[in-house]
Amino acid sequence: MGGNSSEPLIIDGKRIDGRLLDQLREITIKVGILNNANGSAQIHWGGNNILTAVYGPRECFPKRAANPYHAVVRCRYIMAPFSSLEEHGRTRPNRRSIEISKVLKEAFENVILTEKYPNSVVEIFIEVLEGNGSTRCAGLTAASLALAAAGIPMKDIPFAISFGKIDGEIVLDLKKEEDNYGDADVAMAIKPLTNEIILLQMDGKLTREEILKGFEMAFDSAKIITKKQRDALMSLYENEEIED
């Protein structure tokens, strides 16, 4: 964000990839793609390709990290060293990924019924294999399904979406160039059943009215994204024989 681009990001009301201001990129999600994890999901969202998996509830180690009242939730979000078109990245978590992991974990703590599993841990892994903007949002949207597929009881299946400001306009679902050269970006996660906001981060400059407009676009995107999530989760069970 805040970089300088001589190229316009919006021409005749259309964005660099031809999208309208409030149009989402293509999203495809597959649930149940890993063998060892209790639940897993892979999401392709625009140029993002993100693998998510859930282990647990399982015994919490180290023991001193366990809580006798509820399960501990851990989340690791990280970008693979080959996930960016630019230079080779680092394999280890950096300050950015530590912060993102923290707010993602807190969002998941909101929906998981942690009180059902004292002294245990639910671990959520989000590996960005290819990144193209709004990776934390795509990661949360997929990891929610990995949690559901792992059979973790939840109050809701949240999704996340970004909005921002480019060339003076508020737009939905930022891709990488729009994030890099735009004036602001906001990531938010929503519980669709109650419309509560469980993740909210903003970088850049926006007026009150611009934030309100972005919020409206973000809430409107729920229909499309939650349907993709539901369909992906249902397809996991479609070919399953039902045993007595």
Binding site: G2, G3, R95, R96, I98, E99, S101, K102, V103, E106, E109, N110, A184, V186, K191, T194, N195, E196, I197, I198, L199, L200, Q201, M202, D203, G204, K205, L206, T207, R208, I211, L212, F215, F219
Partner: protein, 254 residues
């Protein structure tokens, strides 16, 4: 853990009667004092007291190499140390996720306010000034983000930029950094359905969610929600309005 549970219950019991444990109103901040230039070896510094919370910020200005994609801009870097002497809950070791988050939220507020023109820190090809803001938490009684943000803005206000003459950094003569507009950071804590400003440590134990909003006169320049609770859209908008209203009051302490 038992003591924390008891304190938490007390905070919640008070809120049921629309009261806070220390008698403050819901949007009231604790007493604030700001002392500037408290570190003689730094180019800028400030110590903020927010109730019993104390934060020290020291800023050094050094020669740096610009980032590849920002050749004509200086460097702004914000780090935070949760000193083990500040709280029984802080441990020595690598930065915790809380300290990383705090530094990054303070950084975003300052950077996005565009109050510091990073281009003014350009010296010559491959040479720029780097501004290194180090936040030291000295005493933890809650709302570290607002205390740290205020201390950082105070330390950067009047920051001395050394001279660079014939390949040497001259610190004895300096120019003053221009910093305008300044961001103000407001952190709100949600406990049950109630939202309070400037939570103390005991109130933080009881809280479900936190929202930090940094504003300049016209713009929201940072948002960060944290904690396992949630906010509604209307709550966020109301808190944004409240933050705009309170900005000048908070900045008047600098």
């Amino acid at each position: 853990m038992i003591i924390e549970e008891v304190k938490k219950d007390t905070v919640i019991d008070f809120l049921k009667e629309k009261k806070r444990i220390d008698g403050r109103s819901f949007d009231e901040y604790r007493p604030i004092t700001v002392e500037k230039n408290v570190i003689s070896t730094a180019e800028g510094s400030a110590r903020v007291r927010l109730g019993k919370t104390q934060v020290l910020v020291g800023v050094k200005v050094d020669l740096g190499v610009p980032f590849k994609d920002r050749q004509d801009e200086g460097i702004l870097s914000v780090s935070a140390e949760f000193l083990p002497l500040a709280s029984p809950t802080f441990e020595p070791g690598p930065p915790s996720e809380d300290s990383i988050e705090l530094a990054r939220v303070v950084d975003r507020g300052i950077r996005s306010s565009e109050g510091i023109d990073l281009k003014s820190l350009y010296i010559e090809e491959e040479k720029v000034w780097g501004i290194y803001v180090d936040i030291y938490i000295l005493d933890h009684d809650g709302n570290l983000i607002d205390a740290a943000a205020l201390a950082s803005v105070a330390a950067l206000d009047g920051l001395k930029i050394p001279k660079y003459i014939d390949g040497e950094v001259i610190r004895e003569t300096s120019t003053i950094l221009n910093f305008n507009p300044k961001p103000a950071s407001f952190t709100y804590s949600k406990i049950g359905k109630d939202i309070i400003a400037d939570a103390s440590y005991v109130e933080e134990i009881a809280r479900d969610a936190r929202l930090t909003i940094a504003v300049t006169d016209q713009h929201v320049v940072a948002l960060q929600k944290s904690g396992s609770g949630s906010f509604t859209k209307d709550e966020v908008m109301n808190l944004i309005d409240n933050s705009f209203k309170k900005r000048m009051d908070l900045l008047s302490y600098i």
